[in-house]
Each structure stands twice: as structure tokens, then as C-alpha cells.
């Protein structure tokens, strides 16, 4: 579904991605794990068109990826940005309506809104409240709901568990599973490697702008080097 080949991205003179290649097949959950500054968010931002790659090719559903963020959204890639980024002054309802900005089929939009509300009952309860007054976890749910409203086929998620309480982290990963069941393909970037690997089909390990390992999520999780660097105490505690 998504093919990225030999992608290079630089911020001024600093090279953030140095020839990254990856693919995501339809119906998969693929995760990219790595330390802070490995280039995980840069990779997602390049796919979404927020950053211009210095070199490399990207294709989606067999066609070259569009050049502008709005065209990429139209083609069916939706992005749940890091740090949530909701419209704080708009109501929850209107934030979700913004997600459906590019769609004209009112019936399908209404059906999707119902689906989002059933997935996130908290959002339904607070639909008239302004998004800025939601808690961090609720804002994360809203950002996910807004992405679902775009009706994209591929959902990019940037650190959805960042800064959330452990119990909410659990909920967020359950929701990722639910979204997958709706038929969405998911590319998930996470620092919480243990959880990400347990929900994903395949995984890539990103280190200093390069893919150093890839494979089935269970194999990557079993890899001694990965266990050492990324899973650490949590894998021991979690079993």
C-alpha cells in the first residue's frame, strides 16, 4: 500500500533520515520504534508532506505520493500528529467536522461520526465542550477521531501514548486495535516499544536516521539487541 524508498530528509545541514526504505501492506499494523531523535516523527512528517525530502521516492496505492499535505490527505493518508494538536477553541463536534473537511457525502460523514462516538464514548459525552478543556487523553482520542473522519485508508500515528497516564496508555492501544478492526491500515511510531511491538504485525527499528532492523513484530521483540536497547526493564517486568 505504502512504499518508501531510500528516503533522505535534512534539517539544514543536519541529516535526519539517511536512506530509509519501508513498505506497509494493506491491512497491516506496522510500527517504527527507536530512541528520541532517531527520526521517527521526521519519517511520518515526510510521508504526510509536511517536510520536503532531499531524496527518495514514495508511492501510495501504486501511485507516486502527492506533494502537498492536503493532496496526501485527499489520497487517503491521515495523520494523528504528535502532541495531539486539536483546535482548542472549537467544540469537540466541530473538531471532528474539520476532519471531514474534504468529504461531500453527508450520509457517510454522519455514519462515520456515529462510529467515532461509539469508539470514543467520552467524546460523545463532551461533544459540545471546547476541545481545549479536554484532558490529555481525551485530546488524543479527539485527534484520532478527527483522523478517522477523513476516511483515509492509512492512519499514521505519531506517539499516541506520549505523556499519558499508564491506564490511558492501555486504552490508547486498545483503541488502535479497534481502529485496525475497522479496516484501517496503521503505521505507528512509538517510544513505548513493548506495547507497540505487541500490537503490530511488523516492525522497523530506526537508529540515527537508518533502519537497522526489520521483521515480524514478534521476531523483533525477541531479538536480544532490541530487548537490550528498547525493551529494557519493561519487558522483564511485563514478561
Amino acid at each position: 500500500m505504502l512504499n518508501v524508498e531510500n528516503l533522505h530528509v535534512a534539517y539544514g545541514g543536519i541529516r535526519a533520515l539517511k536512506g530509509v526504505s519501508l513498505r506497509v501492506e494493506e491491512g497491516e499494523i506496522v510500527t517504527i520504534i527507536g530512541a528520541n531523535g532517531a527520526g521517527k516523527s521526521t519519517l511520518l512528517n515526510a510521508i504526510s508532506g509536511f517536510l520536503k525530502p532531499a531524496a527518495g521516492t514514495m508511492s501510495f496505492k501504486g501511485k507516486p505520493l502527492g506533494r502537498r499535505p492536503d493532496i496526501i490527505v485527499r489520497d487517503g493518508i491521515c495523520h494523528v500528529p504528535e502532541g495531539r494538536l486539536v483546535f482548542a477553541n472549537l467544540s469537540v463536534e466541530n473538531n471532528l467536522a474539520m476532519g471531514a473537511y474534504l468529504r461531500n457525502d453527508k450520509k457517510a460523514v454522519a455514519a462515520d461520526l456515529e462510529r467515532v462516538y461509539s469508539l470514543f464514548p467520552r467524546l460523545a459525552e463532551r461533544s459540545k465542550q471546547s476541545a481545549g478543556t479536554l484532558s490529555g487523553g481525551e485530546q488524543q482520542m479527539l485527534a484520532m477521531g478527527r483522523a478517522l473522519m477523513t476516511d483515509g485508508d492509512l492512519v499514521l500515528m505519531d506517539e499516541p501514548s506520549l505523556g499519558l497516564a499508564p491506564l490511558l496508555v492501555q486504552t490508547v492501544f486498545e483503541i488502535i486495535g479497534e481502529i485496525h478492526k475497522l479496516g484501517k491500515t496503521i503505521l505507528l511510531v512509538e517510544q513505548n516499544a513493548f506495547r507497540a511491538l505487541s500490537v503490530a504485525d511488523r516492525a522497523y527499528v530506526l537508529e540515527q536516521g537508518r533502519i537497522v532492523k526489520e521483521g515480524k513484530a514478534s521476531d523483533v521483540a525477541a531479538d536480544p539487541a532490541v530487548r537490550d536497547s528498547y525493551l529494557g526493564a519493561e519487558s522483564k517486568a511485563g514478561g
Partner: protein, 300 residues
Amino acid sequence: MSSYLEGIIMLSGINLIAVLGLSLLTGFAGLFSFGHAGFMAIGAYSAAICTTIFKLPFFVGIAAAAAAAAGASWLIGRATLRLKGDYFCIATLGFGEAIRLILDNFQGLGGARGWPGIPPHTTLVNILILDVIGVVLLANLVRSRHGRNMIAVREEELAAQVAGINTFKYKMLALVVSAAYAGVAGALLGHYMTFIQPKMFSMVKSTELTIIVIFGGLGSISGSVLGAVVLTFLPELLRAVDKWRLVVYGLAVIGIMIGRPRGLMGGFELTPKSVRAHFARLREAKAARADQAAEEKGGL
């Protein structure tokens, strides 16, 4: 009406048009510009060329002013709108000063000495007509889908992109429309003064426009109208305190901004509907008080 009073009303009407444009750019699209006097200059000189050299009617001059300023802003926008916040602001400042310096040194249009003998076409009536057209157009634009998209870009640019809004396009639209307004204001100013000089369109003028927009309240058209009228009249009213005039003006602006940090009308609109709603609330409150009083009496 005394001609002095009429003059001030005309000046505030001219200022208002430039302020309305800047209000769209700053208040609704969230982009600060310190170069709008440059667009006014382009408008003033373009209109003067049309009416003075080519002897064309005034409305042609006004249309040419809007078109020239819009065209210039499109070029500037292409080059600078990808810059983030502060950098865009500095780029517009550079643009405004560049326009002034070019006109200063271009002898064909009078250079720094200025250009006298422009026909006095601007009247109170055509200013008021353009003010009304300006407000109606802007109010419709802001309430349209395009206006909402601009507000989305202002509120959270990345979130707007994620929703599929072409943010560059809407920033450009705001910039081009606001420059066209500034161009029209420049044309009116030139044909009111009958004399134009690059010095009239310096950074001080750009800053004045931005102050009026912020003073009136970002994101409020009625605030911009109120701001333009109040801040054009205020320095004239303060002529009584003579040389302390601008000091008092500055203090008054600071005082009002402390009292109302979001500007006179920040976020609110004065429309017949909002006024009716306000009175309805007052009536309800009064009725509720009356009910309560009646109940208390009944209880006794």
C-alpha cells in the same frame, strides 16, 4: 459640517479600508504584517498614474490600485508565505521599506519630493460607499468556507493541514485580499491629499494600521471599524493638550489595552443579531429579578 470635521471623518474612512484588509490578514489568518503601507503606496501611485497621466476616471484608478497591490502581494506571498510567523513579519517589513525607497529614488514619479497635482476626486460620499462595500465583502468572506479555513490555519496550522486544508492557499488568499484593500485606501488617500510622497507610506503607517487592528480586537470586523474611527479621532481630540498630544495618545492606547487585553471587541461582533441577543438577555435577567421579587412578596 465644518470642513475640519469632515476631513477627519474622511481620513478615518480611508484608514478603515486599509484596516479592514489588515484585519483579515492579522485577525483572521493570524499573519502579522509591518509592510502594509507598501501596498498603500503601490495603490496610491498606480491610481495617480491612471488619473493624472492617462486622465482615466477615478473608479478605473481605484480598480488599478487594488489590482496592482494584489499583484505585488501575490509575488511577495509566493516568496515569503512559507516562512513561519516572525520571519514572515520581518519579510513584510523589508518589503514595505523597499517600496518606499524605490519610490524615493524614482524621479519619474516625483521621487522623494513627492508628486503634487493629483485631482481631488476623493469625496466623503465615495469613501462611505467603499467603506460599506468593504465591510460587507469582508463579513461575507469571513463567514464563508474560505474564512473558516483561514481561522483554522490561524488556530492550529498543522491540525488544519492534517484535515486536508491547503494552508498556503488560504494564507495567500488573505494576503492578496488584504493588499487589495490597502491599495484602494492608498488610492483614496492620494486623491484626498492631492499630493503623495513616499514618506507618507513608511513603517510608521504600517505600524499604525497594525495597532488599530489589535486595538479594535483581533478577529472582529466591528472592532476594526471602531478602532479605525477611535484611533483616527483620538489624536485630533487631543490637540487641546498640544505638544503632549502623542504622549497622551500612547498612554491612552496602553491604558485601553491593559483594561481590555483582547482589544475593544476581541472575538465579538457587533451585528443587529448580537445586539438583539444582548437586549434579550438583559430583559430575561430583569424578568427573572421581577419574578423573584414577586415570589418573595408572595412568601411574606
